[in-house]
Amino acid sequence: LVEGSIYAFIATIGFGILFNIRGRNLFIAALGAGISWFCYLFTMKLTSSTFLAYFLASITAGVFSEVMARILKTPATTFVICGIIPLVPGSGMYYSMYEIIKGNASKALNLSLETLSIAGAVALGILFATSMIKIITYKKNNHVTS
């Protein structure tokens, strides 16, 4: 469990350098990826529902990114992009392609549908997290002014 998160952390440091993130932000962005992957593994252990696991993991990534963006005064994209890098369904893509090549049409269709739904789950998670943060900060701002 922890091992996987560490792998995600190191891999994302590599990706952060490719995206030209520097200094403290690089560390925080990779930390976000580690935490979201941990959340994925943890949910998988409890429920074995892939969709739910990806959804919760991307909510975690989204909330983490928005909070860190406000603390460090950096665009949230920096952290969101890195946070969802491990969640991008590269393996689903590969296995559906593999089944297409082997000629198993029904299996390929199954896998591609699953891959698409994972991508949808990740997108929904980010959408949900960003919107929730917007609602919360709106309330807070009102509170301060009133």
Binding site: A8, I84, M93, A123
Partner: protein, 264 residues
């Protein structure tokens, strides 16, 4: 505010458009580009400016106090990923008003941001080696696979960087990247330096996977930029298809040649 003449309004919208261009070319979201442009215009006293941004172009118009309208179009031909530049321009535009920056200062700072260097090629290659290798571990590869994708990651990055310099389209670059990944994976397993072809390929193609396009597609759609959101989603889908085509082509040839088995 000081009264501005025609020269100034021209100069301001050029600065604003330039800042927007840097963000868009570095992979920023559409709403961030629009907001930055308007923020810069407002900070210098132009209150009736408006901008419309798509992933391939910026349109911007502003009117001076006599109602004379000036507009500007900037076409964006290529986009890379450079999150540091987005962050820097974002900071600069937010500070113009409260720090009282002058036009000259902002122009100068934008030039400085524009010429910021990326990490050196060697650092980029090494970090893609580590990125690919640790993703292989993450998806269940063993230590042999780790070293195989360590090497493959560097090679893929090198090939795609060289192709990017020649300015070929993304679709072709990703097809090449995908085929390099599966070709080398098969080769490494053949010489017994790797154990699982699938794990090595998955780890290596993570370098090509359109994480940025997906993220921006989501964030653009959330903020209501539907045109931009759809075009980014299509971009992500095309990149994914290109990777699958590239790696699938090689695997298919290998199946035809050897039936998917190794004959040592």
């Amino acid at each position: 505010l000081v009264k501005r003449d025609d020269m100034d309004i021209n100069r301001i919208i050029h600065i604003a458009a330039n800042a927007g261009r840097i963000i868009l070319q570095s992979g920023g979201e559409t709403y961030r580009v629009e907001e930055t442009i308007l923020r810069i215009c407002n900070a210098f006293g132009i209150n009736n400016a408006d901008s419309f941004v798509t992933p391939t172009g910026i349109m911007l118009s502003a009117a001076d106090e006599y109602g004379q309208t000036i507009s500007l179009v900037k076409r964006i031909h290529f986009r890379t990923v450079d999150l540091e530049k987005i962050s820097k321009v974002n900071d600069l535009s937010r500070n113009i008003k409260n720090q009282g920056y002058t036009l000259e200062y902002v122009e100068h700072e934008l030039d400085k941001i524009e010429s910021l260097k990326k990490y050196s090629l060697r650092t980029i290659l090494i970090s893609s080696c580590f990125g690919a290798a640790f993703f292989t571990l993450l998806f269940g590869g063993n230590i042999k696979d780790f070293f195989a994708s360590f090497i493959i990651g560097g090679i893929i990055k090198y090939v795609t960087t060289v192709l990017n310099r020649v300015n070929i389209n993304d679709f072709f670059i990703n097809i090449v990247g995908g085929s390099v990944a599966s070709l080398l994976a098969i080769f490494f397993v053949y010489i017994r330096l790797g154990a699982h072809i699938d794990k090595i390929i998955i780890g290596s193609i993570m370098l090509l996977v359109p994480g940025l396009a997906i993220t921006n597609a989501i964030r653009d759609t959330i903020s209501g930029d539907l045109v931009a959101g759809i075009s980014r989603a299509v971009e992500a889908f095309l990149i994914a298809a290109a990777i699958a085509i590239g790696s699938g082509l090689i695997l298919r040839l290998w199946f035809i040649y050897s039936g998917g088995r190794f004959t040592w």
